[in-house]
Every structure is written in structure tokens, then in C-alpha cells.
């Protein structure tokens, strides 16, 4: 499978403690890379900004049956977490089996294989 350079950049930003997101200078809509066009207003005025390293849990699920790449790792939990800036990100839960809705989690990444990256979230308490 082709490794997408934009995702490597995004993941390495998290790994380096310098995650980024995109904000529209025209309408304040927020988004994640690699967009050229604001999904809300259609202008090309997206600006890269620094993203917080913590977020709060918006939804979560514990997965018992998975795709081949993760089949040997079940069960595991996937969460969607919302950052203060407004963007949401999907990642696997670490250091716990379950989280509460609204709980604060720290974003991280794990490298899998040569250039594949897995986004993670860990409870901060």
C-alpha cells in the first residue's frame, strides 16, 4: 500500500510534539490536512496552526472483530476525540480499556512498519 506523504507529515508532527491543524482565515472553519479548500466556504484561505496535545473523548467503541492488520490485537478501543480548536481525530486508546465521554486524553502516535503511523490517545489522569 502507498504511504501518503501528507499523513507521514501529520503523524511526525504529533510525534515531535508539534501537531497542526488547518483554520480558514475567511470563515474560521477548522479542518485537518491535507485540504486545499475550506470545506465550509470554498475559499483557499486555509492556514496551518499549532494544535493542542490534549483532547476530550466524543465517542468510543471497543472492537472485538477486526481487519487483518489489527486482527491479532483485538479487543481494543477506538475513540474520536475533540480538540479545543474544534477539530476531531480518531485514534486507538492506550493505557486503559475504556474511557468516559468527556474525559481528557493526550494524543500520540506509534510507528507501525516502515512508514505507517497509528494515532493514539491516552488518559491524562
Amino acid at each position: 500500500m502507498i504511504v501518503q506523504p501528507w499523513f507521514v507529515d501529520f503523524a511526525e508532527g504529533i510525534a515531535d510534539g508539534e501537531p497542526v491543524y488547518l483554520a480558514c482565515e475567511d470563515c474560521d472553519q477548522v479542518a485537518l490536512p491535507p485540504r486545499a479548500v475550506c470545506p465550509e466556504c470554498g475559499t483557499r484561505t486555509l492556514e496551518e496552526r499549532p494544535l493542542s496535545e490534549t483532547a476530550t473523548v466524543t465517542s468510543s467503541t471497543r472492537i472485538f472483530s477486526s481487519i487483518p492488520a489489527f486482527a491479532d490485537e483485538t479487543p481494543y478501543t477506538v475513540v474520536i476525540a475533540t480538540f479545543d480548536e474544534g477539530v476531531r481525530l480518531t485514534g486507538q486508546l492506550r493505557d486503559a480499556d475504556e474511557v468516559e465521554l468527556g474525559e481528557t486524553v493526550a494524543v500520540g502516535v506509534e510507528q507501525r512498519g516502515d512508514d505507517e503511523w497509528l494515532v493514539t490517545f491516552s488518559p491524562t489522569d
Binding site: S60, V78, T90
Partner: protein, 386 residues
């Protein structure tokens, strides 16, 4: 130009280990053409949905392959792909070709062979409908994505697993009376809750099965139907298709399907109707939560009220708005590339008064098919004769 449905057919849904993509589609297409009293040489346009054949069969160029093996080499052929909504896009494309006056006969359909591949391989292939980097690389499966939507819905509206399970109970019961249905056994709330967890809060019986199947419909122009003396009573009167963010994380409300709302609004406007005019519905219940989100997006229930449908019998065959009288994807089965036209087959039979779970005198029927977690949605509206 009015578009009419001259013939429809689905193969039995389930496991067809001795068949293949080309053979199964040919079975459905020949039966639909026979139902229409037309021949393979009458077909001018052929649009067919197929989603995972590139992965499972190592076969692309599926439109031409299907036209070839059907003996319809004169036809313009094309595969339509919009994940699980692929066949609905095929039907929409065929109706557009006739509506524009470009063709008189369009064969639309779809096919998927899923059971011969392992469950992990199929899960992997289906995951191609999700955002590869932001979702699959995080280990998110399709049931996992719908589970995140279900969890968000449960959190926002205090819904329960029992209320989700009621959708499976209703659709399994409908499936038992449908001869093509893959699942031929009823279930109850307790059995759904006791079935193995797949992705919390969804259990195995909250999820549609892995299905082989094909469906086809013959669309013709009104003038052609008159000229050939075809018996057609059902018309294709409106279609809407829309998009949303590919990844669930980019939607402001995880428990809401905006592509479906947009597609429905467009389809209602083109058909000149509103939700209250709809008499029977086949919709995309790939998971129990999906039916609840769909009946809200289509305007049959207020947001947060969709659980009432199955729990209080409002979506039963004899209810206020009958939903998935075929058994739906949950019981009838979900050969992903065929599903949208399979729904049209069921609605056509309802409007012609020949459905195994016949609704009393329906006039307007609707199909709703979702691609992926809702990044695409197609709504098609059919009208029966008076």
C-alpha cells in the same frame, strides 16, 4: 421524459459458492429482462454496481465484463461505484439517461460475491469505503464506525441497546417471509443482546451478514413502453444523491447523516412529494443504528425519536410508515454492490401489489442507500399506478 420500471429481479441472497460475479449478475439480469418481456439486444445502457470485486476477484472493468457475459455487447456499459450505494447510483444513472432522452432502455443493477473470501479479507475490502489514513490506519472497522455513531446517539438521546435491537427483531421477522432473504430465522431482543460483541454497543445480530447476490431492473421510457406494448405500472419519479465528509471525525454531529438529509430533500423536490406522502420504504440498515439514523434523516421521525419506529411498531409492515418489509440488509442480506437495486426490486413489487409482505395499497415508495458511514447517499422515489 417519464421513466418506467418494466422488469425487476434479485437472485436468492446468501451463499453461492459455485457461482461467480459474472454468472450471478447474468442470472438476475436475464430474469429482469424476462419480467420486462425484453431481450438482451434491447439494452442500450448498462450500469452496474460492484464494490469489492477489484479486491476479491482481482477483476476490474466490471461493466464491460457484465455486458459481455449478458450477451449485450451493443450496450454502453459502466460500473458505478459509490461504496455500498453503488447500485443506487447505477439506477440513478440509468434513469438520468432515459430522462434526458438519450436512451429508451437501461438495464441497471449490481452484484457482489463476498462469501468465498474470508471474513477478515471482506472486512478489509469493505473498509476501503472509509478514510484509509484517518480511519483504517487507526484500526477502525466498518462496524466500529457505526458503533461510534451508535455510541454518540446513545449518549445524546439516552437510547438503549434494547431499542437498537428492536430494529433487528422487526427486520428478521420480515425476512422470514421473503423467499430471497439470507436470514430465515426470527430473533428477539434478548438474543440480540446475547449475541457476541462486534464493536460496542453493536453485537453480531445488530450487523448485516456477508452476502452473495445480484439484482437488476429494466428502466424504459414511457414512449418505448407504449410502442412495445409493455405492461408497466411503476415509474421512477425522483432521485437525489449527496455527499458528506469521508471520515466520520469531520462531521459536527456524529449521530446525524447529512448526506441522507440532502439527498432526501433533493429527491422529494424532484418527485414533488414530502415524507408524509411515502407509503413504503427500503432503507440502508447495515447496522441497527443505521435504520434509526435513516428514518430521522428521511423526515419520518424527529431527531432522537427514531427508536420509536421499531419499538412501537410504527415501521412495521402494518405500521404508519413500513420500513424494510423485505427484511432489509440485516435479514435479506447486503451484497454491497447490488443493494440499491435490490431495494428497488422490493419497492417495485410492493407498488405492483406482489410483495410477500404486502403493504395495503401503497402509491409512493422510497429507497435510501448509504455509501460508507454516510459520505455518500442516494435516495430514489418510485410511484405506482393509481
Amino acid at each position: 421524459m417519464t421513466v418506467q420500471i418494466a422488469g425487476v429481479a434479485s437472485t436468492p441472497f446468501g451463499e453461492h459458492p459455485d457461482s461467480s460475479t459474472r454468472e450471478l449478475f447474468t442470472d438476475a439480469a436475464l430474469e429482469a429482462l424476462e419480467d420486462a418481456s425484453l431481450s438482451v439486444h434491447d439494452v442500450e445502457e448498462l450500469y452496474a454496481g460492484n464494490f469489492i470485486g477489484d479486491v476479491t476477484d482481482d477483476q476490474g472493468h466490471v461493466g464491460a465484463m457484465l455486458a459481455d457475459y449478458l450477451g449485450a455487447r451493443q450496450a454502453a456499459s459502466m460500473r458505478t461505484e459509490s461504496a455500498c450505494a453503488s447500485a443506487s447510483s447505477a439506477a440513478r444513472s440509468g434513469a438520468q439517461a432515459i430522462g434526458a432522452g438519450d436512451a429508451d432502455v437501461a438495464l441497471v443493477g449490481g452484484v457482489e460475491m463476498m462469501s468465498a473470501s474470508g471474513i477478515e479479507e471482506v472486512t478489509d475490502a469493505l473498509a476501503n469505503a472509509a478514510d484509509n489514513e484517518y480511519e483504517n490506519e487507526a484500526g477502525l472497522t466498518f462496524p466500529g464506525i457505526y458503533a461510534l455513531m451508535a455510541q454518540a446517539y446513545v449518549n445524546e438521546f439516552d437510547a438503549t441497546q434494547e431499542e437498537l435491537a428492536a430494529v433487528a427483531v422487526k427486520n428478521y421477522e420480515n425476512g422470514v417471509s421473503n423467499p430471497i432473504s439470507q436470514r430465515q430465522e426470527e430473533t428477539d431482543v434478548e438474543s440480540v443482546l446475547d449475541s457476541p460483541p462486534v464493536a460496542t454497543p453493536l453485537n453480531l445480530q445488530d450487523c448485516c451478514p456477508i452476502t452473495d447476490g445480484a439484482s437488476a431492473a429494466v428502466l424504459v421510457s414511457e414512449s418505448y413502453a407504449e410502442e412495445r406494448g409493455l405492461e408497466t405500472t411503476v415509474s421512477f419519479v425522483g432521485s437525489g444523491q449527496a455527499s458528506d465528509s469521508l471520515a466520520l471525525q469531520d462531521r459536527p454531529d456524529l449521530a446525524r447523516t447529512r448526506a441522507a438529509e440532502r439527498a432526501a430533500e433533493d429527491a422529494y423536490e424532484r418527485a414533488g412529494i414530502g415524507p408524509d406522502d411515502v407509503d413504503v420504504v427500503e432503507l440502508h440498515d447495515c447496522f441497527t443504528i443505521a435504520e434509526i439514523l435513516a428514518i430521522e434523516a428521511l423526515g419520518f421521525f424527529e431527531r432522537g425519536q427514531g427508536t420509536r419506529g421499531a419499538v412501537e411498531g410504527e415501521t412495521a409492515v402494518d405500521g404508519r410508515i413500513p420500513v424494510n418489509t423485505s427484511g432489509g440488509l440485516l435479514a435479506k442480506g447486503h451484497p454491497v454492490g447490488a443493494t440499491g437495486v435490490a431495494q428497488i426490486v422490493e419497492i417495485t413489487k410492493q407498488l405492483e401489489g406482489r410483495h410477500p409482505n404486502q403493504v395495503e395499497d401503497p402509491t409512493v415508495g422510497l429507497t435510501h442507500t448509504v455509501g460508507g458511514s454516510g459520505a455518500s447517499c442516494v435516495v430514489n422515489v418510485l410511484r405506482g399506478g393509481e
